[in-house]
């Protein structure tokens, strides 16, 4: 069959700048560039380009750029070129459209409709360079009140297990298998340095990363890959993954070719077999089942680790979250519909779930109304793009955020949405040794550390501007937010006033 698919991208090479050093050719796992000796010129296979931009970044002379394929559509807003290309692909393959990373559609991003306050005259802003500016956060259940001996400075109430974050950001779940060990290790090293946590995803904990266990959240998902008592006790916190923002209601499928010896050992499945995560946990068909699993896991770790439950933000999120808290979740994790993924059906990614901002506001309010907000911490995920998003999330009521795409971009990810091919030129979403070695975790970790430290500085600056020097006082402080360009309903759900009020 003649393939009707058009190239998506066009590689532009500035001949005046190209010195034919071949760095581009050697950098591309998709074989886009070929230096032809006879022609003394590059042959370019545009169709293979996924716009990962590795060659653009690596080119010593800046001779490369990638642009959209110049083909125009017919001008219809209905049958756009993109829509037609999807049909071309499906009529060619007969398959479900697969994609990666987060929802790219132009849905409203509420973060960008929220503005922060700052102190002027009536109270002073605080200079983070002069005063301590605290961003430490604890996650886990907390008693409502504390019994102490004031004279002897002793706590009488038994404290439930909690984890300490020096920065209000954790790295969201990405399994070894979906990302390379070097990528996961970068995050683990960064988490250790930053005093925060990475998440194993559902891929188990590789033995090389066990020494980062104190900074690991070990995930238990529907596939139960790599889960045993040792694993559950190897991390700082256990997370039950019910759903993922990018693909609510959908399981996972890691193709057998990515299950090499290391992935196989870590996931505890045979080498070369597909790793299938069922859509639901087949032992959780209702909330009381969740409670059983939560307490099974708490038993397994002798109540020494908090147990988090992660769900995709869906329509009835507030009620579900309330049920999760009552089922014993110490941390409620909400993943918004813009969250990323290594692979998801395009239609699911682009059409299912709700924005994290609204989910967060609704859940925080509901838990407060039911006076159970203290019983669990609230962590949100799904396109935390900057420190401002973090500050807004905390002000809306989150204890901390999970972030994955940001750190991945720090590692080199260019959001080309081609993770599923396994040919990630940045050594992130691949298991090919010649590609994974492109990501030196020492550099990766440093870049992630730099990013999070920079974010944390910015968080501190914004907090200082508000006259706040501990993030405790930002949490749920919605008075520090004002909406712009939002309607009454949106403002009502977010629980913020409009700018000018």
């Amino acid at each position: 069959m003649l393939d009707y698919l058009l190239p998506r991208y066009k590689v532009l090479r500035e001949d005046d700048l190209c010195v034919k050093c071949g760095v581009c050719e050697r950098s591309c796992a998709n074989d886009v560039h070929t230096l032809d000796e006879e022609m003394d010129a590059f042959l370019i296979d545009h169709k293979k380009c996924v716009n990962c931009q590795r060659c653009v970044v690596m080119c010593p002379t800046g001779a490369l750029a990638i642009t959209n394929w110049p083909q125009v559509g017919n001008g219809s807003n209905n049958w756009t070129l993109a829509a037609m290309q999807e049909i071309a692909k499906q009529s060619q393959t007969g398959g479900v459209l697969l994609t990666s990373m987060g929802n790219p559609k132009p849905f409203p991003i509420y973060w960008d409709h929220l503005l922060l306050n700052a102190s002027q005259v009536t109270n002073p802003s605080i200079d983070p360079l002069r005063e301590p500016m605290e961003t430490r956060v604890f996650l886990g259940a907390r008693p409502e009140a504390l019994k102490v001996n004031e004279r002897e400075h002793l706590v009488k109430t038994p404290m439930p297990p909690q984890i300490k974050l020096d920065v209000p950001v954790m790295f969201s779940a990405m399994s070894f298998g979906s990302i390379s060990l070097n990528a996961q290790k970068s995050l683990a090293m960064a988490a250790q340095e930053l005093g925060t946590y990475f998440n194993t995803g559902e891929g188990g904990l590789h033995k090389d990363l066990e020494r980062f266990g104190a900074h690991a959240v070990v995930q238990v998902a529907s596939g139960r890959f790599g889960v045993d008592t040792h694993y559950l006790n190897a991390g700082a916190m256990i997370e039950i993954k019910i759903g993922q923002g990018a693909k609510p209601g959908i399981g996972g499928h890691l193709p057998g070719e990515k299950i090499n010896a290391e992935v196989s050992r870590t996931r505890m499945i045979p080498e070369g077999t597909d790793a299938i995560s069922p859509a639901p946990h087949h032992d959780i068909y209702s909330i009381e089942d969740l409670r059983q699993l939560i307490f099974s896991l708490k038993e397994a770790c002798r109540y020494q680790k908090p147990v988090a439950v992660k769900i995709a933000a869906v329509h009835n999120v507030a009620a579900i979250a309330s049920g999760m808290v009552r089922a014993g979740a110490d941390v409620v994790v909400l993943d918004g519909f813009r969250g990323g993924t290594g692979a998801a059906p395009t239609r699911i990614r682009d059409n299912v779930g709700i924005p994290i901002e609204l989910a967060l506001a609704a859940v925080d309010r509901r838990l407060r109304e039911e006076s159970i907000r203290s019983q669990a911490s609230l962590v949100v995920a799904g396109t935390i793009r900057s420190s401002a998003d973090i500050v807004k999330a905390v002000a809306l009521g989150a204890d901390a955020v999970y972030c994955a795409s940001g750190p991945l971009i720090a590692l080199g990810c260019h959001q080309c949405q081609d993770c599923a091919s396994g040919k990630c030129n940045w050594g992130i979403a691949t298991q090919r040794p010649e590609l994974t070695k492109r990501l030196n975790p020492e550099i990766g970790a440093q870049r992630v550390i730099n990013l999070v430290k920079a974010w944390n500085h910015e968080v501190q600056e914004m907090m200082g501007g508000m006259g706040i020097n501990a993030i405790d006082s930002l949490k749920g402080n919605r008075l520090m937010l004002r909406g712009v360009g939002l309607n009454e309903k949106e403002l009502d759900i977010l629980g913020v006033k409009h700018a000018g009020e």
Partner: protein, 153 residues
């Protein structure tokens, strides 16, 4: 002394080090001009061996007892007693290739310039002979496959 070490585990065979080395050792120090317009074309002192699966960048080890210096009949090849940098003086070099036959790593090569061939090799990007700068290959390496660190000798 500070030495450049190549780390195979991280070498990705991009050869940006070679390009950077050529640029640094060109007249213009502009990559485009140096590689497209200069004659003789600038030579890289560091070379990447291997391919995509396994590769390593090799350049002068600046040995404690350099064989190239031992073999040099012209006094062109010297090891700076203070910095430890082994460098060659093109004025004195006559291109006899004794150094080529002596270097255990293949890190000295001969440039066929007129009127005589001369040896060239890594000088740690010293601007002044014997004064090591920040080696340009290390700066250009995208993956810490070249590290420039204080060695134990």
């Amino acid at each position: 002394m500070k030495r450049i070490y190549a780390i195979e585990a991280w070498c990705v065979d991009c050869k940006r080090c070679e390009v950077a080395c050529k640029t640094f050792h060109s007249k213009s120090r502009n990559t485009v001009k140096a590689l497209k317009a200069e004659f003789p074309p600038p030579q890289n002192r560091i070379r990447v061996e291997g391919g995509r699966q396994l590769s390593i960048a090799v350049n002068c080890r600046h040995c404690a007892a350099p064989k190239c210096v031992e073999g040099c009949v012209s006094g062109a090849m010297t090891k700076d007693p203070v910095t430890g940098v082994v460098s060659t003086n093109p004025e004195k070099c006559v291109g006899c290739r004794t150094c080529v036959s002596m270097c255990p790593f293949g890190c000295v090569r001969i440039e066929e310039t007129f009127p005589k061939a001369v040896a060239f090799k890594c000088d740690l990007c010293g601007d002044v002979l014997g004064q090591p700068g920040e080696p340009s290959c290390v700066t250009a390496c995208p993956n810490n496959a070249l590290i420039y660190i204080e060695s134990e000798g």
